[in-house]
């Protein structure tokens, strides 16, 4: 993981249309909103959501705004919570048909996938590798004392 985004892919044995409809359905047991304490969802461009998720004994409220809803190809929304420190992260869910199946990709990122976002990502990748080298060598130095 490069610390700027996570990308997870899966192949699902169903059509993109069926999967898309499940993904934006707050009640579907296959969907990402299932099992929440409360969900309020308006899955259209500029629609908002509230998603309260119970984890480790407490409720984590999430808020977001749908930025792209392009059935059956893509749905994208901002995602904000205490964990993001109030910053708007971005969730992008894309669907690509593969015969009778569909390859879905979930990307959750701190930055949008545009030029500025890509420069952020380059910067982070550079600095993290620079630091990784620094701290690896420091650890081996201290373990010798």
């Amino acid at each position: 993981m490069n610390f700027v985004d996570i990308t997870i892919a899966r192949t699902i044995p169903a059509s993109a249309e069926k999967i898309f409809d499940v993904w934006i359905d707050p009640k579907s047991p296959g969907g990402p909103w299932f099992g929440a304490e409360r969900v309020i969802l308006d899955p259209v461009v500029d629609g908002l959501f509230y998603f309260a998720f119970k984890h480790e004994g407490r409720i984590w409220p999430h808020y977001g705004r749908f930025t792209q809803v392009d059935r059956p190809r893509l749905v994208e929304y901002t995602w904000m919570s205490e964990a993001t420190k109030g910053a708007e992260s971005i969730v992008t869910f894309t669907l690509e048909p593969r015969g009778e199946q569909t390859e879905v990709t979930l990307r959750h990122s701190g930055v949008p996938d545009d030029e500025l976002g890509r420069r952020h990502k380059e910067g982070w990748t550079w600095i993290l590798s620079a630091l990784a080298d620094a701290f690896a060598s420091r650890r081996s130095a201290t373990s010798q004392t």
């Binding site: 996570i6 699902i12 296959g30 299932f34 982070w124 600095i127 630091l131």
Partner: protein, 114 residues
Amino acid sequence: MVQCRATANIDTVTAAISDRTRRAIVERLARGPARISDVAEPFSMSLTGFCKHVRVLERAGLVRRSRRGRNKILELSPEPLRDVACWLLKYEEFWNNRLDRLEQFFAKQKQKEK
């Protein structure tokens, strides 16, 4: 469970390392702490100009100054960067679970159709 402390501001850090001189400073300090004057030496600029760069890096939380006797020392400060995307680690498990659930939901449906 990953513990998250205050995270660096991603924009401040990115702006800090967008400059070639500042990247070179970080690379130098990655080899270990050093006297400010030693770090400044290879750069063809005044110490004042050099210190402006150092201040940008300090504000981004990337370096810190200390004193060793009479010497002013610069060193890398890793904490802000280590924690910067802590929230992403929390969500990795969350999203993996959601996608597993999505997959199982349709796998079961397919089973029923047979």
